[in-house]
């Protein structure tokens, strides 16, 4: 079943690159991402942001998806979506 509302994609990605930060920096430079650093302390998962992508979109970014998918150094990636969270 599809969600009631489509996810809202934002201009950041989680990527898994097992070669670590140096390889992610190279990847970021190549495709214009900003490397915001590791997600977990093991240094395999990184948070990337792209300033050239609209901050909120109803569709995932086709071009960057293709770049990341074709890159053999990228084991996994996910364009981030907006999470609605409230204080209690």
């Amino acid at each position: 079943w599809a969600p009631v509302r489509a996810p809202i994609y934002v201009s950041s990605w989680a990527v898994q690159v097992s070669q670590g930060n140096r390889e992610v920096e190279r990847l970021a430079r190549k495709f214009g991402f900003v490397n915001l650093g590791p997600i977990f302390p093991d240094g395999q998962y990184f948070h990337l942001r792209h300033r050239g992508v609209v901050q909120q979109s109803l569709t995932p970014h086709w071009g960057h998806r293709l770049h990341l998918k074709k890159n053999p150094k990228v084991q996994w990636f996910q364009q981030q979506t907006l999470q609605r969270r409230v204080k209690r």
């Binding site: 079943w1 969600p3 009631v4 509302r5 650093g37 977990f40 302390p41 979506t81 969270r85 209690r88």
Partner: protein, 642 residues
């Protein structure tokens, strides 16, 4: 130690100054000299006013970060409406200073307090995962008072990375003892929401805290659900007193409200328990909280006695948390054996959901296998079903010992036609019960007569241990004897009595991931030979418990691996590189990698800088691949601007 603080607003802190009867019994814990010393708590929220006069001395920059702006300063963004006061308020409940002539006092007034600014901006799975895995070897307790919308129609939970952050936290955080995630159960009472539709509070890795009023009533905002474990005080109707804490602009408030106010009180009480016994695992703490929560004067229509004789309610879990009882129990708690998980696929063929159906399954609880369970902890029902109006369907689970737990009650505002897609409902109500026998899942239409639906998949997930928890004897005092000789770094060299040395402490037993042995001490020049030392030393990283330091000395394994009895080793999905490599250097960066247990325990007991090591985790990719092959919890998107 401070027994009765002199802070001017302490007289307003009715929930801890004996004004309410019973109160949270915090004075009793303080009178034992406990104040959260050496414990680090981080509040994940909209920031923390680090220069607040009641917080600055306890503020810990290592336990803080700003993931909204990606800098180390978690200072809130100030606005005319003070919308970012929430984190500062929650932080003051935990660790506001004592006896400084200002405001009131925090429950753990000597604990170090950090803040993560992560709610004041775009929130994504990455931001949540990064926040929940900030400094897992330095921060002991994360307190979170937020979640998906409590509007009575949302079914939402953590994303794939955040779930991994929880998993890593409990398996690797705090040197392998497991990070403690304390969560506010939710404010959706007015919308008849149910906190089992919130994947954060219903996670087995979080300790979910509900609220009660001073009079022991269910507050108007309170959500009932089976995953709530315990309760602390908070606000009620307008005439009820609220919670006293620090506020933005160096202020104080006596108007902090909601379940947001309850979770930090519990986090502070848990900090006191952790100070009393720093070697408790994340599951030990949940066992302790179950035992230290009492129905007291809490009023609800659904108090029931479960199969092991404990009273439990969907509004309050096991009842009002008692700090005195919590620390007393913590001091004598014997470590819980490794967690076992037994999955029972009950139904995988489509079955029409009639107005009322029961699905019964005789369960052996994996008897005869390495993962057999004698005493339950969490129980989950993973369900995939369609339904014409989701909120009309009430789902219940009854254990072989006759305890009936409502997994989700009707939610009148949930008109979704999506059903539940592999949603995991959790109940804590069967805690310590024997799982063997017939489990009954009940599905009942409690709304529109013509509702229809189909159950596609039902898996029962049992978590627990091989031990009969109801028959265990009380252990000895954990820190039963005092250290009588220390070296220049404060590490204990000799205990007053037959205890084991671990870092700064003398312990009655060695905790999980350590083994006890006797170390011969050679006499130095001019000294007579010293008696042999009884010490706790580290197990190999692959073991949960062991009899020696080699990878073939394991006696039990962490949940991700299984014990090869003949080899004495733990076999599991670990990489060849998974052995921790200790590095005796101060952590150079705010996000240091996982450290070895000894070093983190030293940090706990000494209160000094955390020493860091390295470890390699199970590749997330393999896990992600599995998760993608299996549909996960549905994400429900709400209109913008809510």
């Amino acid at each position: 130690s401070v027994v009765v603080p002199t802070d001017p607003w302490f007289s307003k802190q009715w929930y801890m100054n004996s004004e309410a009867q019973p109160d949270l019994s915090i004075l009793q814990a303080w009178s034992q000299g406990l104040s959260g010393q050496g414990i680090v708590v981080s509040v994940l929220d909209d920031g923390i006013e680090k220069d607040h006069p009641d917080l600055w001395a306890n503020y810990d920059p290592l336990a803080s970060y700003d993931f909204n702006d990606y800098d180390p300063d978690p200072q809130p963004r100030y606005t005319p409406s003070k919308e970012n006061r929430h984190g500062t308020r929650c932080a003051g409940e935990v660790a506001a200073m004592a006896n400084n002539g200002f405001c009131g006092v925090g429950v753990a007034f000597n604990a170090r307090i950090g803040g993560v600014r992560m709610l004041d901006g775009t929130i994504t799975d990455v931001i949540e995962a990064q926040s929940l895995s900030l400094q897992p070897q330095h921060i002991h307790i994360y307190s979170a008072s937020w979640g998906p919308e409590d509007d009575g129609r949302t079914v939402d939970g953590p994303g794939i990375l955040t779930r991994e952050a929880f998993r890593r936290g409990v398996t690797k955080g705090r040197g392998g003892l497991g990070t403690l995630f304390i969560w506010a159960s939710g404010n959706g009472g007015l919308h008849y929401d149910n906190c089992n539709c919130d994947g954060y509070t219903n996670s087995i890795h979080t300790l979910s805290v509900g609220s009660t009023t001073q009079q022991g009533r269910v507050p108007w905002y309170s959500e009932a659900c089976a995953s709530t474990l315990t309760t602390t005080y908070s606000s009620g109707v307008a005439t009820d007193p609220q919670i006293v804490t620090t506020d933005l602009h160096h202020g104080c408030t006596d108007q902090h409200t909601g379940t947001s106010a309850s979770a930090p009180l519990a986090a502070g009480m848990i900090a006191l328990a952790l100070e009393a016994n720093p070697f408790l695992t994340w599951r030990d703490m949940q066992h302790l909280v179950v035992r230290a929560s009492k129905p007291a004067h809490l009023q609800a229509e659904d108090w029931r006695t479960n199969g092991v004789g404990r009273q439990v309610s969907h509004h309050y879990g096991y009842g009002l948390l008692d700090a005195g009882l919590l620390v007393d129990t913590a001091r004598t708690w014997l470590p819980t054996q490794p967690q076992r998980k037994c999955a029972v696929r009950v139904q995988s063929r489509p079955t029409p959901i009639l107005p009322l159906i029961y699905i019964r399954e005789n369960v052996s609880a994996c008897a005869g296998l390495h993962n057999s369970i004698r005493s339950l902890e969490h129980v989950q029902a993973q369900l995939t079903l369609s339904y014409s109006r989701r909120g009309d369907l009430e789902i219940s689970l009854t254990s072989p010992m006759g305890t009936r737990s409502t997994l989700v009650a009707i939610r009148p505002l949930d008109v979704s036609t999506e059903g539940y897609n592999n949603w995991v409902f959790m109940s804590t109500h069967f805690w310590d019960e024997n799982p063997q026998g017939v489990w009954t899942l009940g599905l009942e239409n409690k709304g529109y007569y013509f509702n229809t639906g189909t159950l596609y998949r039902y898996t029962l997930l049992l978590y627990g241990t091989a031990e009969d928890m109801t028959a265990r004897p009380t252990g000895p005092q954990v820190t039963s004897s005092a250290c009588v000789q220390r070296d220049t770094e404060g590490l204990c060299q000799a205990c007053d009595g037959p205890a084991y040395i671990l870092g700064q402490l003398c312990l009655a037993y060695c905790p999980p991931r350590f083994f006890n042995h006797t170390r011969l001490v050679t006499a130095g020049p001019g000294h007579t030979a010293a008696p042999a030392l009884r010490v706790c030393s580290s197990c190999h990283a692959s073991c949960y418990t062991c009899r020696g330091g080699s990878p073939r000395d394991c006696t039990s394994c962490p949940p991700s691996s299984t014990l090869d009895q003949q080899q004495g080793s733990c076999m599991g999905p670990t990489t060849p590189d998974s052995r921790p490599r200790l590095r005796a250097a101060a952590c150079p960066h705010h996000r240091c990698p996982a450290s070895a247990m000894v070093l983190s325990l030293l940090a706990v007991t000494l209160g000094g800088p955390v020493l860091c090591g390295m470890s390699m985790d199970l590749p997330l990719y393999a896990w992600l691949s599995r998760a993608r092959a299996t549909p996960t919890k549905p994400q429900v998107w709400l209109p913008a601007g809510t």
